[in-house]
């Protein structure tokens, strides 16, 4: 037995066959890498093998889930009471805010209807849980536990309670991969809340910040300014918080100001996230607004007649109540 082993791994000289085999395998690996880099094979392969891959992810996330439930099981009674108290206060506050918001939302709804826009405030969302899996330490992606079986499609926007988190990039039957706004490959059109300045927030390679590399030198941007999604480009719906400017300094080129912003969403703490099902309006100019003017009933008849038609002919649909039409001349 010992002799056989010595033969298979000689003490000093290596065998030519072994080296050849190594070269073969290394070449194979390189070919695979190049092909994958060009064609993005790995995701197709992962899709095909998702029946095998997904249980492994669930298995790997078990220790983290176990730690979490353990920490709940063994947490202090006092701590829980305190937490409960705080949550109760938060709930009250949130309810109060919600009541106010409801009034504002109603008002907003009315005004928007008046302006004849097609925006809606009620969001069609789906709750998803983040699967805690380490997908490489320096990649800004996460897995969520819903996939194509639950109606998720690529390009859907993912938000949490505080703001935009990212977008779905890959969908498997039961899980999907979300690219976070801090990913170097990610960009989101934003508008600065205070001034209305439009710009684009990119992810950065280092750290969990957003970068706004092309703000013009004369622009009025200060640390603390809030960033909202602008809805341009049609991928992200407008009006969601994206981040808050941390610092503004001249870019290396000297042509622009470069802003750094902290994402509004809790990218590394969120447990539950929302997947938006309402895709934003398609790109391109908005549909032509319906003509706003005096009610059709007041318009002169197509003939040369100047006299208004009798009131009794007007249908209720074409004559909105007068109180709803403050914008009309």
């Amino acid at each position: 037995m010992a002799l056989a082993r010595e033969e298979s791994s000689p003490l000093f000289a290596g065998t030519v066959a072994g080296t050849l085999r190594l070269i073969l395998y290394l070449a194979l690996a390189m070919v695979l890498m190049v092909l994958d880099h060009r064609n993005d094979w790995i995701w197709r392969l992962r899709n095909a093998t998702s029946v095998l891959v997904e249980p492994v992810y669930r298995l790997a996330s078990l220790p983290a889930a176990g730690m979490r439930s353990l920490s709940v099981a063994f947490s202090d009674r006092k701590l829980l009471t305190e937490q409960n108290q705080r949550l109760r206060e938060d709930l009250l506050l949130a309810n109060a805010k919600l009541n106010r918001m409801a009034a504002v939302a109603q008002q907003n709804e009315r005004l928007k209807e008046l302006l004849d826009t097609q925006h809606t405030l009620d969001l069609n969302v789906q709750l998803a849980r983040v699967i805690d899996v380490d997908l490489g330490a320096y990649r800004h992606r996460m897995l969520i536990n819903i996939g194509s079986h639950d109606g998720v499609k690529p390009d859907q926007v993912v938000i949490d309670a505080h703001g935009v988190m990212g977008q779905v990039v890959e969908v498997m039957p039961r899980t999907s991969l979300v690219m976070l706004v801090t990913d170097p490959d990610h960009a989101i059109p934003v508008v600065i809340e205070r001034t209305g300045l439009r710009t684009i927030a990119y992810g950065t390679r280092d750290g969990d910040l957003l970068s706004l590399p092309n703000i013009s030198m004369a622009a009025d941007v200060h640390p603390g300014d809030k960033l909202l999604s602008s809805g341009l480009g049609g991928r992200f719906p407008p009006g969601f918080p994206v981040g808050e400017i941390r610092s503004v300094e001249p870019a290396a080129s000297g042509m622009f100001l470069e802003g750094r912003a902290r994402p509004a969403a809790d990218l590394d703490r969120s447990d539950n996230v929302l997947v938006l099902h309402d895709l934003a309006e398609p790109a391109g100019p908005p549909a032509p607004a319906a003509p706003v003017g005096p009610p059709a009933s007041l318009a002169p008849a197509p003939g040369a007649s100047v006299a208004p038609p009798p009131r009794a002919n007007a249908t209720p649909a074409s004559t909105p109540p007068a109180t709803n039409n403050p914008v009309q001349p």
Binding site: A29, D36, I42, R46, A60, V133, G136
Partner: protein, 161 residues
């Protein structure tokens, strides 16, 4: 089950465990300290039963790890192949090293692995990783004696090859 069956199952089980450990998330501050488990377990097995570990096996494990990790297909396959090749080549010598020398050799192998990874990432167009990226091989080397003794002890107790 017969003895060879059990030892085969144990062998495969440790490798599956290694790949799973790679996926288990750690709190963010501990993240850079995570050792490259598949490499450590493959190292152990290629030192202890070199006839079972072949380049093909390393390649397949690397491919599985790539598939699970979602990195470039073939990246880990290449790294593990290179690692196993070096270990198998110097196996007879490495086995008779005292533990501290063996640990240093493991450190060198893991650092070499990181350099390979760096080369691949650079070709793929990624930025240079932060300095904390280099901690992982040292953690792996520091864990090596414990891993080695633990696995040896378990093998003795289970009386498997």
């Amino acid at each position: 089950m017969s003895k060879p069956r059990i030892s085969m199952a144990w062998f495969a089980g440790t490798l599956v465990f290694a790949v799973l450990s790679m996926l288990i998330p750690l709190p963010a501050p501990l993240q850079p300290f995570k050792p490259y488990w598949p490499a450590l377990f493959l190292l152990y097995w290629s030192l202890e039963s070199g006839e079972r570990v072949t380049l093909g096996l390393a390649f397949m494990i690397g491919l599985c790890a790539d598939l699970l990790d979602g990195v470039l297909l073939g990246e880990q396959a290449m790294r593990l192949c290179a690692l196993v090749f070096i270990v198998l080549r110097f196996r007879s010598r490495l086995r008779f090293f005292p533990m501290w020398q063996q640990t240093l050799a493991v450190l060198a192998l893991l650092l070499n692995d990181r350099v390979l990874l760096l080369i691949v990432r650079t070709f793929a167009g990624d930025a240079l990783p932060p300095a904390t990226w280099w901690i992982s091989p040292f953690v792996g080397a520091a864990l090596w004696p414990f891993l080695f003794l633990l696995m040896d002890d378990l093998r003795m107790r289970l009386r498997i090859q």
